[in-house]
């Protein structure tokens, strides 16, 4: 896509007149709502859009957002970051991971700290960049610290596929891929009457891969509407409008607003690749939420020769580490509190020195509130 087309795409989806148009439609529809409704945007990208474009400032008071757990960096528990840190500090290792991950502190420090102590830590934009690093450093062990939701999992699977097919001997994997629906389901079950989740805005890019089908359970079993939305402000305003309409019409349906990229089945080729290399773990700890059954993936046993968690087992710490005592991220993720309700928000806990999960990446709710101010 050339830059000109890109610009046209973005201008269209950020058109002030269209945004204002949806603002009016939502206002008219929201007048008919019998009570305040709580919409959870599951994905951190959506949290970012809401705050960056100031969308809450355009909405009536009876539409409330609960900012969900959908930022892969934020939910990574300290125990796993400590794994990455320990692996990075091993001699002869180059640790690769994706962008933001290197900023997040575990109990030993961040990967940036490891790097400043001499570890070779690099970020890659695409997992495929690992191939080049491995080729240029044949005597080093390249460990890819794989993170992300359904969106990035297929890229890790594709890299594993190439490593096996080309018989590359110096790339290994530490897998931390998590899955969205299990966390959504846990949050519904954990919510009480005052803080119930009335509707979900479904993630954009997760859904491109997995298809909208993974959310079918929410309207069917829990009668909660789901609208899969794009990331642009116009996308989100339209999705909010679709949700409010569902309420007023007494429906709870699975709808796709992000039709330009998402369908019901998703990318079945990517799904098959993921299924081939990965299986569910029994329990995975989400920072700020706790253990969620079957909410993450690991390499299947037959690929253990590539699994850094197996190979370096003796070097990795396994003690449980508690979240910071003053941190209320768990309540924020469940809709029981907003970032500014936290006693350490913006003081002891800032993006440069985060205490809790929601402050660690720009897609976390606290970081977005801190950065953009949530001005009214």
């Amino acid at each position: 896509m050339s830059s000109l087309e890109l610009k046209e795409l973005y201008d269209g989806f950020r058109d002030p007149e269209v945004i204002k148009g949806f603002q009016k439609l939502i206002a008219a529809e929201a007048q008919k709502l019998p009570r305040t409704i709580n919409i959870m945007e599951v994905c951190g990208g959506h949290t970012h859009t809401i705050m960056k474009y100031g969308l809450t400032q355009l909405l009536p008071k009876n539409i409330n957002f609960i900012h969900g757990p959908g930022c892969p960096v934020c939910i990574m528990p300290k125990e796993r970051i400590d794994h990455a840190y320990r692996l990075a500090m091993l001699p002869n290792v180059i640790l690769l991971t994706l962008g933001d991950m290197i900023k997040v502190p575990g109990s030993l420090g961040t990967l940036q700290d490891a790097r400043s102590k001499g570890a070779d830590v690099r970020y890659v934009y695409s997992p495929m960049d690992a191939l080049k690093v491995a080729e240029e450093n044949p005597t080093k062990k390249i460990i890819f610290f794989a993170i992300g939701f359904e969106t990035t999992t297929p890229m890790s699977a594709a890299l594993i596929d190439i490593v096996i097919k080309r018989n590359i001997k110096n790339i290994f994997f530490h897998i931390n891929h998590v899955t969205v629906p299990e966390a959504m389901e846990l949050l519904i079950k954990g919510s009480d009457n005052d803080h119930c989740i009335d509707a979900f805005i479904g993630p954009s890019h997760v859904s491109v891969i997995s298809g909208a089908k993974i959310y079918a359970v929410f309207p069917e079993k829990y009668h909660i509407p789901v609208v899969v939305s794009g990331f642009e402000p116009v996308d989100m305003m339209e999705s909010i409008y679709m949700i409010v309409k569902q309420f007023n019409e007494g429906r709870s349906d699975l709808e796709v607003q992000y039709k330009r990229l998402v369908n019901f089945e998703g990318n079945t080729k990517a799904q098959a690749l993921v299924e081939y290399y990965f299986e569910k773990v029994d329990l995975f700890k989400w920072r700020g939420i706790g253990h969620i059954p079957r909410s993450a993936l690991k390499l299947r046993a037959e690929f253990a020769a590539l699994d850094a968690e197996v190979i370096y087992k003796e070097f990795l710490p396994y003690e449980e580490i508690n979240d910071h005592k003053l941190c209320i991220c768990g309540d924020i993720l469940r809709g029981r509190a907003k970032p500014q309700d936290c006693s350490v928000f913006g003081t002891a806990c800032k993006p440069t020195s985060p205490l809790g999960s929601c402050m660690v990446s720009s897609e976390g709710a606290c970081a977005a509130y801190y950065k953009y101010g949530n001005l009214i």
Partner: protein, 332 residues
């Protein structure tokens, strides 16, 4: 602060400011240093004095090289204080094994840029270090300039001023990112690396009432505006849709999750001028290639003193925060 120095502390943003104030200012503290201007004003206001060290990867990038950068950077800091760049020093630390041909190219770029500024290198130093002791070549330049217009200061921005940006923003940062290993973009993007003295000279000659100027290098436009808002205790309200950003820079920002106003510039500066002079200043800037897309971008108010606010075209507002940490591409 962290126990060891991290790359994030060199980003021109919040961590960088903390490192400087808690380590360097703490010891070196004096009245001139504490003004935190682009260049120190010395000798009873007659001279401007500044220094800068240059390390860039890659050394040769679209639109310039480390040599051109090392002269532009220091001369621009002088120009931002209304001073004409005059005398300069050049200190080079070069790694054993570095190509003589490349060294010649770098020094030739320096000479060309010195001519544009009308400045001369009057003393220098060269050190060759063993392989691995530096990354190829580091250059430091120090500059002395003669102040042509006194009183320009980032501590004096007031509600009587209007804020202008001299050209499209984010081009240098986006170019360096696109030129880095591992980022395979094809684009016509070039760094904005350029000497700003000719533009400043013209503005002064035309009698524009300039309150403050600063080139938006590391940390970008957001860093400059935040510093001004804090130092002058005002609120700067930026109209988001008038910020000049090229389509290519915007495209790169969209893909990587960056904001153009956080990206470095090497030939783009921010001005606070008396509001009555704002339109005339923009017209003057536009007569230069390096000022083709000059625009008024912000007003100064007291709505949130010490903060910069971005106003969207649909009536919402948010903080334009100081960039934090290393610039890292988004994950998904």
């Amino acid at each position: 602060m962290t126990k060891t120095v991290t790359l994030a502390q060199g980003n021109g943003g919040a961590e960088n400011a903390q490192l400087i104030s808690e380590i360097f200012y703490k010891q070196f503290k004096n009245e001139i240093l504490e003004k935190s201007e682009d260049a120190a004003i010395i000798d009873g206001g007659r001279l401007a004095f500044t220094t800068d060290s240059f390390t860039v990867s890659p050394l040769f990038f679209d639109g310039g090289d480390i040599g051109k950068l090392s002269i532009c950077g220091t001369c621009n800091d002088l120009a931002m204080m209304g001073a004409k760049p005059t005398y300069m020093t050049c200190a080079v630390i070069v790694e054993e094994g570095f190509s003589i041909k490349e060294l010649e190219t770098i020094v030739a770029s320096m000479k060309k840029e010195l001519e544009i500024n009308g400045a001369n290198i009057v003393c220098g130093d060269t050190k060759v270090v063993p392989k691995g002791a530096v990354d190829k070549i580091f250059i430091n330049t120090t500059g002395v300039g003669v102040v042509q217009k006194s009183g320009i200061s980032s501590n004096c921005v007031s509600t009587a001023d209007t804020i202008i940006v001299s050209n499209e923003i984010g081009k240098h940062g986006a170019t360096i990112f696109a030129n880095r290993e591992g980022m395979e973009f094809s684009s016509d993007l070039k760094s904005d690396c350029t000497s700003l003295w000719p533009l400043v000279e013209k503005l002064l000659a035309e009698g524009i009432e300039i309150t403050a100027m600063r080139d938006a290098t590391r940390g970008g436009v957001a860093a400059v505006l935040n510093e001004w808002a804090k130092q002058s205790k005002v609120c700067i309200e930026v109209q988001e849709e008038v910020l000049p950003v090229s389509d290519t820079v915007r495209g790169i920002c969209e893909i990587l999750g960056f904001e153009a106003y956080n990206l470095a510039n090497e030939g783009t500066f921010i001005l606070a001028v008396k509001s009555t002079d704002a339109n005339r200043a923009v017209e003057i800037l536009k007569t230069f290639e390096a000022g083709e897309r000059a625009a008024v971008i912000a007003n100064v108010t007291h709505q949130y003193d010490g903060r910069v606010i971005l106003l969207s075209a649909w009536g919402s507002k948010r903080f334009m925060d100081l960039p934090t940490g290393e610039l890292l591409p988004r994950i998904c």
